[in-house]
Symmetry: C2
Subunit: 210 residues, 2 copies
Amino acid sequence: MAKSENISMSVIRRLPRYYRFLSYLDNQETQRISSKKLADIMNVTASQVRQDLNCFGGFGQQGYGYSVKQLKLEIGEILGLNRQFKAIIIGAGNLGTAVAKHMHFEARGFELVGIFDKNPDLAGQILRGIEIRPDEEIESFCDSHTIDAAILCMPRNGVELVIERLYSKGIKSYWNFSHYDIASEYKDTIVENVHMSDSLMTLCYRMNQR
Amino acid sequence: MAKSENISMSVIRRLPRYYRFLSYLDNQETQRISSKKLADIMNVTASQVRQDLNCFGGFGQQGYGYSVKQLKLEIGEILGLNRQFKAIIIGAGNLGTAVAKHMHFEARGFELVGIFDKNPDLAGQILRGIEIRPDEEIESFCDSHTIDAAILCMPRNGVELVIERLYSKGIKSYWNFSHYDIASEYKDTIVENVHMSDSLMTLCYRMNQR
């Protein structure tokens, strides 16, 4: 599978969904699936499915459908999930703890290698087998490890300064749970934001409209 | 402000973002803002901002820009954030705990009134001032309270059965952190999904492409 360039971001954003549904089907030991069936469970059209997968060279065989395992593998490869990007979590409060314990990093292309918090009481505690370190050690840790990404699980206040420190250590990829707008300050960063409150407000809107 | 019908979902999905940025500006005591400036900080075009806000009747005054406080209020009203939809959390593990403690429900149109977990060891513990109840009490709790929405913080296994129980008690709105596809099974539900792993996989893809 060749690395694909110029694929639109909206197709890219659907790939994890394909991967998720295919993983589920694979766990259910489903062997093959038609674009029609895959479209049904994903709530898109079959032509959308075929079009999306064609962007990457197309995997289906007319009349035979897709091999679930094969398609899952190929999409995983496109996503780069076989990578082990080294990541650190900043902020070991409720959210950081949930992210550390809850996420299956290894299956998502990452390896969690460090956790930091500015609260000295947390230092030394073990989370997912990793010792929580004091915030001041971020720089020395980055010097002795090659860190690819930082996961920001801290409130908006303080993020600005932390980003400055992380960026100066060469970290340019962020999974951002804070509301600080990293990408507008640091143009050469890759930032994925998780704005949980936006999702909750959207739910409120839709319930209010009903 | 009239309730707006037929607004496209993509406009709706931008409203929480406007609200978030306006809240930030309001906290900074910014009084007025031009569509150009608002567009800049939101990383969209000024014409997009004007077009979006026009969907709801338009609030700006040519040459004067928008009153931050007023615009924030009006968008909050459109979103229905003054509502207090009663919500319960199902699952008080790491994720449920983080959601319970982390989210500012009252400012997002919700009131958290109950937390349930199937682990009997958690029953009786207090989270955000709310007692965690055993899973078996969901039905009786729903009978004695009017519950508008459920927040699902449990793994995919088991969700199916819980939804069946919640739905039978008339709960048709869900904030869903599990990977179970509620909307495809229950067509008359309102579901907002938070798929954190999709976001992490997208980050991996983008890092891998760099």
